[in-house]
Amino acid sequence: MLEIKNLHVEIGGKEILKGLTLSIKAGEVHAIMGPNGSGKSTLSYVLSGREGYEVTQGDVTYYGERLVDMLPEDRAAKGIFLAFQYPLEIPGVTTMNFLRTAYNAQAKARGDDELDAASFLRLVREKADLLKVSSDMLKRPLNVGFSGGEKKRNEILQMALFEPKLAILDETDSGLDIDALKLVADGVNALRAPDRSMLVITHYQRLLDYIVPDFVHVLAGGRIIKSGGKELALELERDGYESIVSSAA
């Protein structure tokens, strides 16, 4: 479903991704691990269409369609979802209003029925309870004054609502204590499905104890330098990035 071939990406003239190749099939869970600054978030932003990221070489296709020139909102409507490493705070827009606006915008773009306030409320309540997102949180401005854990749960709530085909989780584990991590991981695992692929980006192996990947890739210096099964994550944990980066070089 997702083919990334020899992807080179520049930000402000500086090359960050330097020939990244990755192929993900429907239903697979891929983990990307790598040191800070290796380009993990850059990859997630390029896939979701953030401005300022220039693809200078290579290509990305999603279900056979070129992704690079597609607007972010169109990608979202086609099922690409990014759980942000740092979810944005938006004062003045209540979480509930935001969720419904987004849900209906995607539905409209796909030609599906939009939901009225009452039906949408029912849908949200059902999903929010599982992630312990309180109705008070839903009434507050989006992410404003939310704790780190609340922000991440809110991201996963959105994933549950929008039911994407490709979910990219960018360091969803960062800043979470173990209980919060389990809650979020349970939420993600509940969404594993044969037609839903995931790209789980993390710096630490810990998250992968809970969200067990089919494949693990090591990203360093803007390229994938090593790929393997879930045991690669344990190897990284044991030996550190240094040894893998140097042995691959």
Binding site: Y53, A77, L88
Partner: protein
């Protein structure tokens, strides 16, 4: 009438630079019109004619405002005044009554068409303690309190536009509410422009006696697509502990000129809350002077503006803290796109002896295009000790990261921008009015955003 006029102080001379040299060409047609009005004003008392004559003479001395005059630094009215605006003569009840944002709000409608009060389209409150007088109906024999209002307006708001208005005003609406009177609904003054290429000069005056609480809604709409010129003067006088909420919407056609001179005087513990929303007009300017004359008086002024094309909106405000322990707030926020321009000049003057003053002003503008412009000039002039004053001004763009977040959730660019703009503007509206009064304004903003989505999007944010 039990009104004891507050002592009228001599006009605090603003920088009234006289521009006699350039006077002439632009002013001449207006001065000719003044003479005609005076000659024809048969149904007016000698007192009113003399009052108009004073206006003419003072306007002659002033000339139209120049940008060299501090208060007009950012707004150039002179070129606009070269257009030939017709003085509307006869009175015809309009065929068509335009919708206003407050049509769903229960109110007493006071309808002014082309500057003339239309009793057939109005619902005047009929109860003891409420007096409503119009210049046209009572011009031959004005009650003393109306004369007092005219005199204080002339004295407190003096300036070229006010004087021109004194000379040319077609009508005026004067409202007096006596102590102990309770109005069950807001008053809603509607100014509609019907005649094409018209100029009209109006007066609106409201006096609330001690302890009276009232809400004044004001709508400006047009029934045609032609340029018109409305020169308005508003006089507000609040007795001890009186409370006035004043909410206005400028939604006229985008060719309109609308200039307002507003003066408010507050006695001890009185409270004046004003909130304006400007989305119409080619040039809309409000020059307000709020005089906190009694201890503990409070004023809360706020405004939102939404401008496209070459629309120009100017708020120039002076707050005079003349007594101790008064509070003032100014919050003006606007969004500008294409080549629109927004101006905020806010001056707080704290007189000697006005200790315990608490004054804040804030101006924030969102620019959606490179050609849009915002000017902010907050000023403080403090002659007292023990005061708390602050001001802030920001000019910025929409938060690009927030926009990306919304778009990454499937919300298209135009809708994402609208959502952020709406949050920015609603914040001001919610801070100024309760739900009943803020809802119509929020609707107005929301409708404006829907109608102007293309202009809001402007340059596409291609990834």
């Amino acid at each position: 009438m039990p009104l004891k006029p507050m002592s009228v102080q001599p006009t605090q001379k603003q920088t009234t630079l006289r521009v006699a040299a350039s006077q002439g060409d632009i002013e001449k047609p207006y001065l000719d019109a003044c003479e005609r009005v005076l000659a024809e004003g048969v149904r007016e008392s000698d007192w009113l004619k003399a009052h108009r004559r004073e206006g003419i003479e003072r306007f002659k001395a002033y000339g139209f405002p120049h940008r060299r005059v501090e208060a007009w630094k950012f707004t150039d009215l002179r070129p606009k005044m070269k257009e030939q605006f017709n003085l509307v003569r006869g009175q015809e009840t309009p065929q068509h009554v335009v919708v206003t944002p407050f049509d769903e709000t229960p109110s007493y409608r006071l309808f002014i068409n082309d500057g003339v009060f239309e009793s057939a389209l109005s619902s005047v409150p009929k109860q003891n303690g409420v007096e409503i007088v119009t210049l046209r109906q009572s011009g031959q024999d004005l009650p003393a309190w109306v004369k007092d209002q005219l005199v204080s307006t002339a004295s407190l708001s003096s300036g070229p536009m006010l004087e021109l208005g004194t000379a040319l005003m077609r009508d005026g609406l004067f409202i007096y509410i006596a102590e102990g009177t309770v109005l069950d609904r807001p008053l809603h003054v509607i100014f509609q422009t019907t005649s094409e290429t018209a100029q009209y000069h109006t007066r609106l005056s409201i006096v609330l006696e001690k302890g009276v609480e009232a809400t004044l809604l004001e709508s400006h709409v047009s029934a045609n697509g032609q340029a018109s010129f409305h020169n308005q003067a508003t006089q507000i006088q609040l007795g001890e502990g009186a409370i006035l909420r004043h909410i206005s919407v400028e939604a006229t056609h985008k060719e309109n000129l609308h200039v307002t001179s507003l003066n408010a005087r507050l006695a001890q513990s009185a409270s004046y809350t004003a909130m304006s929303a400007v989305s119409g007009g080619a040039l809309v300017r409000t020059e307000a002077k709020i005089m906190l004359e009694g201890a503990g008086a409070r004023t809360n002024l706020s405004g939102v503006y939404m401008l496209v094309e070459t629309q120009h909106c100017d708020h120039t405000i002076v707050i005079d803290h003349a007594a101790p322990n008064c509070t003032s707030r100014q919050v003006y926020q606007g969004v500008l796109t294409e080549s629109a321009r927004g101006v905020f000049q806010g001056k707080v003057v704290v007189a000697k002896g006005a200790g315990g003053t608490d004054a804040h002003q804030l101006s924030r503008a969102l620019l959606l295009s490179d050609k849009a412009e915002a000017d902010a000039k907050p000023e403080l002039e403090i002659y007292a000790d023990d005061v708390k004053c602050s001001h802030g001004a920001t000019i910025g763009e929409l938060d690009r990261e927030a926009l990306f977040y919304l778009r990454a959730r499937g919300i298209p660019l135009g809708q994402a921008k609208s959502l952020l703009i709406e949050a920015f503007l609603d914040d001001v509206v919610e801070g100024a009015a309760d739900e009943v009064l803020s809802a119509p304004i929020k609707n107005h903003i929301s409708n404006w955003l829907k109608e102007h989505e293309a202009q809001i999007i402007q340059e596409g944010h291609r990834p």
